[in-house]
């Protein structure tokens, strides 16, 4: 078919417009992606030497006061902080992971996220020490949002997110003791904190995502990766898993994928049940043992045994982090009461957040310098005594 002579320029114009439009869309998408700002921040970050790193850690924890070296380090990284604050205000964060790589996927951003989180945490304390407690609290929220954006589709990112949350709660605990009586600022901060927690994904959701990612590796074309996992998990050449994977065909992988999905579904169902903490720990421990042991006699369970994460341990960490948050929320309520009435209340409000180890409100003890919130049950099974959180009240 022959086109009319005037049609060709129109087609070219249409193509150019389409290309320009697609380019605009791509740029807009990139501009909305927080990870681009994070990656720039990673490149700009001035790493402290060992002595300075220790000094900053001590300062963050409140064991030493501020000095010129700390201030200089933070100021040298001012642009990094600006990038981080801007990144956490963005609605989307796509780190660009290629999940088709399954368990062989590399996550190069995680170490950098940890390091710049320490920087942000130090700056939050510095701001509080210098009297700018509103921005200090805002930085704590920035850290919480960072945790949220770091948490992606693998359990490892969830763990780093949890660790960042733990760091933030410690920060808030320290900063609250430096804040004067400001009911409005405290109330606003408490609401914002609860909102960020609501957006943080559950362990069950992360495990579901992790199951999909790991299943990408359970294919015959990824047998080399599976072999590496077998060697890393045990290192024994006599392990039946090694021989099974070496001799595996497509049917072996399909049966193993089915077993993997049914096993993770079982773990997710358990996590979503409303078992109390100690019973949940026992149940997850029993499940973990059973699923791993099954692989000895059942070849279809081979890949489940080597891929199943330490769910019991992750659950404990999750509960520890959430309980710490509940303690911080309870403490903010007490600080608000102190700011309103001029004194700490005699008892906790009836609707105060619970200690998730016991399922009951925290034990509340007033001290000379402030107060202590204590869990009523200890963490299973490693800890000798229940967790307690000490808060200082500014006089």
């Amino acid at each position: 078919m022959k086109m009319a002579p005037e049609t060709t320029p129109r087609i070219i114009v249409c193509m150019v417009v389409t290309l320009l439009a697609s380019g605009t869309v791509t740029w807009a998408q990139q501009a909305d992606n927080a990870s681009l700002l994070y990656y720039q921040a990673f490149l700009l970050y001035e790493k402290p030497d060992d002595t300075m790193a220790q000094m900053i850690t001590d300062f963050r924890k409140g064991t030493i006061g501020v000095n010129e070296t700390i201030i200089k380090h933070i100021e040298n990284n001012r642009r990094v902080i600006d990038y981080l604050v801007a990144a956490t205000d963005m609605p989307t964060c796509d780190w660009g992971y290629d999940y088709r790589q399954g368990a062989d996927l590399v996550m190069p951003n995680l170490p950098a996220v940890r390091r710049i989180a320490f920087l942000l945490s130090a700056e939050a304390r510095l701001l509080a020490v210098q009297g700018d407690y509103v921005t200090a609290l805002d930085r704590c929220l920035t850290l919480r949002k960072m945790a949220l954006q770091t948490c992606d589709r693998t359990l490892v990112t969830y763990l780093v997110g949890i660790a960042l949350n733990g760091l933030t709660h410690g920060n808030i605990q320290n900063i609250l003791g430096l804040i004067p009586n400001d009911v409005t600022a405290l109330k606003q901060f408490r609401d914002a904190l609860v909102q960020t927690q609501k957006r943080f994904p559950s362990l069950a959701y992360c495990l579901e995502q992790e199951a999909d990612v790991c299943a990408q590796t359970m294919r015959i074309e990824k047998a080399d990766v599976i072999l590496k996992m077998v060697q890393e998990s045990d290192g024994s050449s006599t392990d039946p898993a090694l021989e099974r994977v070496q001799q595996a065909d497509e049917a072996f992988f399909e049966r193993n994928r089915n077993h993997w999905f049914s096993s993770t579904a079982l773990v997710i169902d358990t996590l979503e049940s409303s078992l109390p903490y100690s019973e949940m720990c026992a149940k997850l421990g029993e499940l973990d043992k059973r699923l791993c042991a099954e692989a000895q006699d059942n070849p279809d369970a081979t890949l489940t045994a080597i891929s199943l994460p330490a769910v019991g341990r992750v659950y404990q960490l999750t509960i520890r982090q959430q309980t710490h948050l509940h303690a911080v929320e309870t403490a903010i309520d007490l600080y608000i009461a102190k700011a309103s009435t001029g004194r700490l209340p005699d008892a906790l409000p009836p609707d105060s957040p619970r200690d998730l180890f016991s399922g009951e409100p925290f034990e509340y003890e007033r001290t000379d310098g402030g107060f202590i919130l204590r869990c009523r049950a200890k963490e299973y099974p490693e800890k000798d005594k229940p967790h307690e959180y000490e808060f200082i009240v500014k006089r």
């Binding site: 700009l44 790493k47 590399v106 170490p111 990766v225 590496k228 996992m229 890393e232 994460p309």
Partner: protein, 143 residues
Amino acid sequence: MRSTRDIEHSLKHSDLEIDIHAPADQRVLSELVARHRKSMGTRRAIRRTLPRPFMAKVAAAAAVVVIAALLARHPLRREPAPTPPRRATVSAAELLTVRRLNTVYRRAGMQGLERQCEEAAERVNIRPTRMSVEDLIAEFNGS
């Protein structure tokens, strides 16, 4: 007659590698030493009766035997010594794979995970301490 060049060529391409067998070498040397000690008693008497040129020849022959023995034990060409097995090194990228991170968490918990992240960060920290366009251009120009 072969030219010097021919001789050089054949030397270069000849297989001069000496077959080394340490236990056999040791046995030969031990026998030599034993015979030497045994003959020490009679040697002095013979020396008195033998003429000087004969003694010089025996000394030269003994020197040749000793040099040969030394060469056999310490040849000019030796098999390369086996290198000690290297500790398997893992790249920073490998340390940060999902499977490695999961394994380390399973084994050592959060602390293990943090240590692994820190180790990887130490290795991939390629950012220069100073970053200016001027420095970058200077580096590209090789100055």
